[in-house]
Symmetry: D2
Subunit: 336 residues, 4 copies
């Protein structure tokens, strides 16, 4: 039985408490937050978990084997470093840190402590993403021509970081997981519409070492929520629509598309050809349930996490280069 | 009764023949094409129209008041200039010309001849686009934050021009029509996947004189056809989906989106708020029917066309600057 | 070259004129209607076709080999019988006649004259329906458990016949074409909401000789148009959505659906299982184009039409029995 | 603080445990089930709840104020009667009982004991259903012409009762809640495809005392899940699609639908008119959370539950009459 403390019980932390409580391999010994109101709420739902305000109290308890860090990004590095020093395994929320420098320090600290460092790139534990990974790796789509991703919604406006830092960790981590190629340069065009200096809409272009290109669109301004990724290969095209409850993935055959002559408006409307579409069955499971189980398994077996520190670092490298690109007016910046 | 000759009966020309034949104000005297097979086909459907191979024959007939030029882009300027010299009104397909220089020559020639020069930006005659124009002009959306457009399909591959020259005329002409601001700079990231040197996928970013930003995504590689534009304002958001037969336009209220705490995965899924959505009724009419009628009306009344030479020129300016941007690696290029 | 006269140029007749004009095997010699305004309209669009008010004038012309009867249902029998007497082939619109008795007389008259009698069950010439026919005949769905069809829209209100006579001919003809079993009894529950005595909404239940059951829902009252048919077999399920421009047919695998335990609302939402879905590519062609070509081919070759008199009669038998069922309060009535 | 025991922890009971545990007004003292495995599972998730096998043990504890009965239908009456005798309030799952006779006995027992009897018609606590109730009651739809409901999925096959007993309680309870009229007769056509004698697909027709008609379609055989209800009024039409995560309700204006003449296939496709569609914003909350809170509130205040015994009885009356109708071949049976 692994003893766990969850540090940060605001927006996302309670989901860690719930999943780790339900897992028979772990017990959530502590829930930690600066807000008394949040602590009271979590305490009522999980009577076996002890609510505390000071995370040092969690780290001091030898019954705690591992901590989850679900606090604001700016505090990730400090808390995680303290945790490694106290000899705990750490699952840190995304983005791993606020800088490449901090990310490198975390990786080093985990190494030195001989403890697990895992990053909460939850989407990599989603059934649909894993199915897409197998599809691409199996060559079903052929050579990937380009990728287009959209993550648009009415945002949780932040003033300390922009829409890229908020939303890109999801899609960049998915992209790096799904594609064998590595990103070499990034260009970001954005605009701050609501809070001066804080971009709330952005278009990121990533260039990869094999020449592939990816477009990633982020927005905090869209009342209609969109979570979509399309992968266009030379054989097939895959569309991943994460808004849907089921049927999240469609795979399209390429049709023939010879220019045709036609004589009516209706024929014109039908003049583009499509191939067959297949919508595979995917069993839905809460991704965090898999993520929690994976974290516990890595602790028990010493296995390297799928979303380890190196993986978290690669995402931070893209974010830092993106930030430079926005500031330089959208020119390409090298990654790495 | 206005006598018309349609020059070019390949992909799109027959639709002009059909609409101008059905309009009681015009008669299609000539259908002109280099292909005997196309001429035979059009001749059978429209027995009252004379099929000819040489467009000069059309221009020589004094019964011909106006011509439609629906030939490959590279020939637009030459044929249209000949037509003005012969004293004909001209409706030229989009894009108007292959260069800004040619566009200026056409405008000047029309002026000198005192004839109508109209460009076939058909979408500006679509009921949905006109309804969106009234909606934006009426302030319903508030200040526009940004626009995102997508025109994706399995393409009619060209080797003489790229996906931007093929598809951007549609969306750029719509955008310039709908927005009061003028574009000042353009950046295009693209990639040639199939034919070396011919981009088949591209992302265009347009910056406007009021600071607004627009993203336009074009592709010839997508088996799933997409024709979508979203306009995000500070009051409402409008989504225009041109693939649908009806219900092409949705208008979304902005909902409140305060960060919430939640305890279950289901609550998490519902944690983004939406406002009411309204889908106005739009009566569908074939856009080219309106366009044909507008061309005839301008000839009869001397009225300036909605899609006149200046309008066609502005689109060409964006296309030329886009071309420079692609060639310089995606940096912004000034327009105009 | 087959000479044709189209009798009735109101709602649907002009589509016959257009398709038969475009077909190289036929010439439309006459367009006949009682309305001068309709005749003027058709005459302008088809200058080679002669507009006349009296259908006897059409029947007298020996250059006329065949007629299309697209007049109100109550006149079908009289006009078609006159046409057979005049030695013409006849394509009569659906429903073929207003009674079984008239249907039998038409079949007999066609036999006696040795001419083609074809019924305009247009849907049987639609690409999607033909693809579904091949799918079912090929055993892909397995044994059909049941069928459910919906044809709902804001109706073209009639006062001389009800929603069943208006809409059921489409779906009943499709059903009889697609299934090997024959209908033996019908029950119809309906209600007259707008015009007393004229049902504008109805639910038809058909029982077949193999025990299969089909539910057909018709309405003139629905602002949201629906055209859907589902075929549930013991292997797979097929959904045909005729509203869509493309992707009209989806084929679903049966998933496993063991009752599961679950602990959260989200798991509950995901607890029903689905199998893979396949959406075959279907090339869209205007069904009437195929129907016209088939009529001409049958005239030229003597081939029996797919939608011959016997087929039209079977539909009328279902309609008559349906009428009796509505009048008797919804009890089952024998067909045949 | 209200002490609660949840009897039955199979399919649905754990959701009661979760919601009543999270509600600050109640404590779940007992979770009761015959299966040791279910008890172990619930015990781990809710350490403060005592797992027991015998429901009499729950009833004997004076700290228990109320019980939830989430056992198989055939046992509802016996357990609930025992609970009333022991002086407990009772929330019994749907359908309330297996017969009208049992339902009457439960109502009488609750009256005699002076305790709350509430039925778990959960949908009446769904935000969307409550919003529809206000819409209809407010006259927005005008006079209701007819209602059509569909509840189709791959079923949890039962052999002790058919698809009507399984699925109709949901839709019938919704219908009775939403409409002021009362059902007077019911006809059900069904078929047993998989297990002889157990109908797995059925079409129910309900006639109401104001002449209104409703069609309810149930199936255990459909791989594509459908949960839809449409309400067609003389002013507007409302469509409720419970499959969607958001935008569950659309309200359609009636458009004009004069028959039109048209000359092309495309115009034909557009010839039906639609009015504007409005999709109201509805905040999603887990319905059972509201239901739990309502049960506790009724206990505390003595308020009559929205879904009280009389309400549960009315549903059972429809189910019993439906059963008679299926057995008599689909003829109408009186309700009540």
């Amino acid at each position: 039985m692994i003893g766990v403390g969850v540090i940060g019980c605001g927006y996302w932390g309670p989901n860690h408490v719930r999943n780790l409580s339900a897992n028979p391999s772990s017990r959530v010994l502590y829930a930690c937050d600066l807000s008394e109101e949040r602590l009271a709420h979590v305490g009522r739902l999980y009577p076996a978990t002890r609510p505390v305000r000071d995370y040092q109290e969690v780290l001091r308890d030898p019954a705690v084997d591992a901590v989850v860090v679900a606090t604001p990004v700016s505090t990730h590095a400090r808390i995680a470093l303290d945790a490694f020093r106290a000899g705990k395994h750490v699952l840190v929320e995304k983005p791993m840190t606020a800088s490449v420098e901090d990310a490198l320090r975390l990786i080093e600290a985990a190494d030195r402590a001989g403890k697990i460092l895992m990053v909460g790139h939850t989407f990599l534990y989603a059934s649909a993403v894993r199915m897409i990974q197998r599809t691409i790796a199996g060559g079903v789509l052929g050579r990937i021509h380009y990728v287009s991703m959209q993550r648009l919604n009415l945002g949780l406006f932040q003033t300390d970081y922009n829409v890229v830092w908020d939303l890109a960790p999801h899609d960049v981590s998915i992209l790096l997981y799904l594609l064998p190629a590595r990103p070499v340069a990034v260009s970001v065009h954005g605009r701050a519409n609501v809070h001066p200096g804080v971009e709330d809409v952005a278009m990121m272009t990533l260039r990869f070492d094999d020449g592939m290109i990816a477009f990633l669109h982020f927005s905090w301004l869209d009342p209609k929520k969109v979570r979509q990724a399309i992968f266009v290969g030379d054989k097939k095209m895959l569309v991943y629509d994460d808004i849907r409850d089921t049927e999240k993935v469609d795979i399209y055959d390429k049709g023939v598309s010879a220019p045709k002559h036609y004589d009516t408006y209706a024929e014109f409307k039908f003049s583009y050809r499509y191939g067959e579409k297949v919508t595979p069955y995917i069993e839905e499971v809460e991704p965090l349930k898999f993520e929690s189980a994976h974290f516990l398994e890595c602790i028990q077996t010493g296995k390297k996490p799928l979303t380890d520190g190196a993986n978290g670092l690669e995402v931070i490298r893209v974010l830092e280069a993106s930030h430079r690109s926005i500031k330089n007016g959208g020119g390409f910046e090298k990654i790495g």
